[in-house]
Subunit: 457 residues, 2 copies
Amino acid sequence: MSDTKPSIPKGTRDFTPLEMSGRNFIFQTVRTVFEKYGYMPIETPAMENLTTLMGKYGDEGDKLLFKILNSGDYLSKIDEKGLNKTNSLGLSSQICDRGLRYDLTVPFARFVVQHRNEINFPFKRYQIQPVWRADRPQKGRYREFYQCDVDVIGSNSLLNEADLLCIIKEVFEKLGIKIVIKLNNRKILAGIAEMLSGGSGNQMLDFTVSLDKLDKIGREKVLEELKAKDYDQKALDTLSPLLDFIGNKDETIKFLKEFLKDSETGLKGLAELEEIIRLSKLNKLEELIELDLTLARGLNYYTGAIIEVKALDVQIGSVCGGGRYDDLTGIFGMPDVSGVGISFGADRINDVMNQLHLFPVAASTMLKLLFVNFGAKEAEYILPLLAQVRNANISAEIYPDASKMKKQMNYANSNNVPFVAIVGENEIKNNVISLKNMQSGEQKDVSIKELIDLLKI
Amino acid sequence: MSDTKPSIPKGTRDFTPLEMSGRNFIFQTVRTVFEKYGYMPIETPAMENLTTLMGKYGDEGDKLLFKILNSGDYLSKIDEKGLNKTNSLGLSSQICDRGLRYDLTVPFARFVVQHRNEINFPFKRYQIQPVWRADRPQKGRYREFYQCDVDVIGSNSLLNEADLLCIIKEVFEKLGIKIVIKLNNRKILAGIAEMLSGGSGNQMLDFTVSLDKLDKIGREKVLEELKAKDYDQKALDTLSPLLDFIGNKDETIKFLKEFLKDSETGLKGLAELEEIIRLSKLNKLEELIELDLTLARGLNYYTGAIIEVKALDVQIGSVCGGGRYDDLTGIFGMPDVSGVGISFGADRINDVMNQLHLFPVAASTMLKLLFVNFGAKEAEYILPLLAQVRNANISAEIYPDASKMKKQMNYANSNNVPFVAIVGENEIKNNVISLKNMQSGEQKDVSIKELIDLLKI
């Protein structure tokens, strides 16, 4: 066989045991909280039919889908006219029927519609799986990454939004990450757009795309962009006080009540926002919430609340986000089912935890006890002892080879094994185990029962 | 947006919460045992470079790889001569650089070579991830399925084989599946082949492929196949007593000692087998082991022990299998590193557990308490109570909408929620919670503290 220098595709990663322990700590935390709030796990296949995925993420998104080549003699059935070097896009739709999922939201919508007759609505599900995007790889952006989504579908109640905010608070508390939760409402954005365009509201998307950039490009550039998008001076004059406005939650709400007084949609969004804040007070997390009228999160399918979580103490994008979508399943022929959900970005959270040194030490040690191997005779004596230790649910092993003591101790050190058991000729004669605490260096003779009692803690 | 009837690709599956609870029970069991034995988790990307995957699974395997179409203008750089309807195979190698992993063994070998400088050998890893094969889907065979692999690499010691057999025993005991562990050794097969071909042993593969079928096609057909493969009458006469042999472990070993007396390799394999059995006696699992001289498991890379686990009480293929490979990483330019490992088939195990009704009931209920929702006022009263229940780590929720009582109780029943809390006007007045046990039907008024104490068990 050939001598291949091994590597992995650009933008993908291997995870070593140490990295896994951190990731598993995040997944386990998220999973435990989701289940405590009554959300249940589902999984969907990595591959979806391209008909399910295409057209759901905009033209840009379509380009970022990983497509899977059809099996077998895939060229035999295609239209030969399309077989030329300039037809990459056209050919791919003929030779690929499937693609890797791009997010967990569209597969979830597909799942709900496909299994509608087995599901008890409201359906509260969570899903922790990787997604794939053919994005240009860069620091902190990968082509394979995990999303942790939690959604409820089939209920209009704002208690759901309130519950999701509790989940956010509890997850990040458990992880030790300080956060601010930014809130907005798509109907408020629609109301503002309505005010500007004199009631038509059809430039909603253009408008939110520009507004979303306020933080990055500043007030003047936003106005320039809108001018270029055919907003007239009157519209920009209407917008000005909003861009200039600074105030706390109560003041912002008061301001919006006036600003949106002629937009039915806008006022409805404002009422939703107020109710969510009221419920957050009852749930004792109001102090984490900030209103952010520029928050749009790009995604077109949001129709109500928009939620985004930023980690404090660290420069990084959002670590969690989501919102309400009134018609997600409509694209698959099941209209008028309202849902709301959020997605935790496991990889970003991992980066934050690493930067702030938040991973508990315990997460990185797994093996608790190593028996040193002096040879066949000693190993034979040790095997039943090892079985007893493991029966007490203590993670333990015997070094498989009778290597030099130094090599075995190095192995224990490199793997952060906290205890080493030494059972040589003398120990066997005296029916004891010499137990070494690798951190303190302390070493003492114990019985197997004492050893188990010591390590069980 | 268009009205797409949703479905998933052939051979793939969605997993509902109920199915997930069974799967998670299996994964959790396997993971717990692996870690107790000192194995640590790693993960590798779903996509590997095709150069890593191709040629590792034989020609048939290459055809079963899912290939990923290169992104962007993938046709622009190809050789135009290859662009014709009859060149599916040739073109795919030009327009696809990556593929989905086919198993966890080759990615593991690639991982070890790529990370050789960060790894402390012997390296004990486990890996639980899906793999993909473009096989013809059929009952019990999927195009996406999970493997649970556990391997140690960098140690020749047979203590590793003995440890893996302990893992097999403990995993299936914990799952409640009765098993038999079939053992063989590749060197014994090589020795037998050597005896037949008069010492050259180069027809090893042909020979094991035929022998592997003994159970299915019978003695006569095996001899016919070998004759067709140019084995002469003398060779077949030599083989006859082996095919006819029936005996227990000790008798088989005695028979082989004689049969293989002129094959150094064969005797070495036999010695390994005897040592593994001796260690299994010490580990109190010898009664689970059966010798099976026809066991080859197809895979070419095994060089020592071959292991296969069959579930009793149910007609199904093997639920676990593996063996020792002395040169797995050689294909990636790192020779002479010996490893041994086994793979648990989570989907087969799942089928066995379902057929034998082995899943614990607890695995299918997650939400413990549902608060009925009578409206905004009651919900507001309930939110702090709900927070208290959740703070005690009890999974609980409030039904999000003030729907009819019957609908809410149906929801509790369909989701197997064991307790429902009813807090209406009267209960609020009396400062109690009416707690209903959904199984017994019993209903009584309790304080929040009593409720928590009751449900905490």
